[in-house]
């Protein structure tokens, strides 16, 4: 696996995760900066994401929705606080109503992303997620975040199969 470290801190409600990729920082940055690539990894397999607007610059905004197996849609948005290609992004990830306006009833999380080259064509990416409260964390997880996780493996299989068809 490419995930090299995970640190969960129950006291200050943060989770930090570090991963390494066999690619340049610029390539890893594209996973965030290209909306077509972003939508291929953001949503869990049962709730694939569609990015409808994408402005990854300080003060910018990204709108997306995820579509569930019953055709149900969950709308969300990011407010970009910092973006320094190809090094870092800080964004608030919130839930939106169907018309895209923020839904204040559901909690948002803050994500801090750092991307750095570590030599030999490899790149380290770290993500720190901060929850506003334990209740918020519980609510987010209860909302079916885990739903698609068990199927992450089948998603990988699907991508690999697609790759075989193309080549």
């Amino acid at each position: 696996m490419t995930v090299t470290a995970v640190e969960k801190n129950a006291d200050d409600l943060t989770m930090s995760l570090t991963a390494e990729f066999d690619a340049s920082p610029e390539r890893v940055w594209q996973l965030w900066a290209d909306p077509r690539q972003l939508e291929r990894w953001w949503g869990p397999p049962t709730y694939p994401a569609t990015v409808t607007s994408h402005d990854l610059r300080p003060g910018g905004r990204i709108d997306y929705h995820m579509t569930g197996p019953e055709g149900d849609q969950v709308h969300g948005y990011w407010l970009v606080d910092e973006a320094d290609p190809p090094r870092s992004v800080v964004f608030r990830d919130g839930f939106a109503n169907d018309d895209g306006t923020p839904n204040p009833d559901l909690p948002d999380t803050t994500g801090r992303v750092r991307i750095e080259g570590i030599g030999e064509g490899r790149t380290r990416m770290s993500i720190e997620s901060v929850f506003p409260s334990a209740e918020a964390m519980e609510q987010l997880i209860a909302m079916g975040m885990e739903d698609g996780l068990t199927q992450a493996v089948s998603q990988i299989d699907a991508i690999l199969a697609e790759e075989r068809v193309r080549s």
């Binding site: 696996m1 490419t2 995930v3 995970v6 969960k8 129950a10 006291d11 200050d12 409600l13 989770m15 995760l17 991963a19 990729f21 066999d22 690619a23 390539r27 890893v28 996973l31 690539q37 291929r40 990894w41 953001w42 869990p44 397999p45 993500i127 997620s129 409260s133 334990a134 209740e135 964390m137 519980e138 987010l140 997880i141 975040m145 885990e146 698609g148 996780l149 992450a152 998603q155 990988i156 991508i159 690999l160 790759e163 193309r166 080549s167």
Partner: protein, 112 residues
């Protein structure tokens, strides 16, 4: 013994204090009462008693009667429930990272 599902804000608030975390660790053996626990810390019996009360309300410890004594015992399930929340969030991100890895592999393969 019936214990209600822990309220997570209470659990995390209870665990935010170093002394309370230490009490939870010690009470896993469940052999000491509040007075014996208090001997481990440079603070008053009343202060330790307060910490124990916070942990008890959070569902992280219980007091059990053994003969004539009352011992403090960690409610391991309460502790696990708190950890499980973070575990599930970790799984979400692990899923994302593996999809990222696949995408990177995907573009490399196509270039070949």
């Amino acid at each position: 013994m019936q214990t209600a599902a822990p309220a997570f804000d209470r659990v995390f608030a209870a665990l935010a204090d170093a002394t309370r975390r230490d009490i939870v660790r010690r009470a896993i053996d469940g052999e000491e009462g509040v007075a014996e626990l208090a001997d481990h810390y440079p603070m008053s019996f009343a202060a330790v008693q307060k910490h124990v009360a916070v942990l008890e309300r959070a569902g992280l410890i219980t007091k059990q009667r053994i003969g004539r004594r009352k011992v403090v015992r960690t409610h391991v399930e309460g502790l696990r429930a708190a950890q499980r929340l973070l575990d599930r969030y970790e799984q979400l991100w692990r899923g994302r990272i593996s999809r990222m890895t696949d995408l990177i592999t995907d573009t490399k393969e196509r270039k070949k």
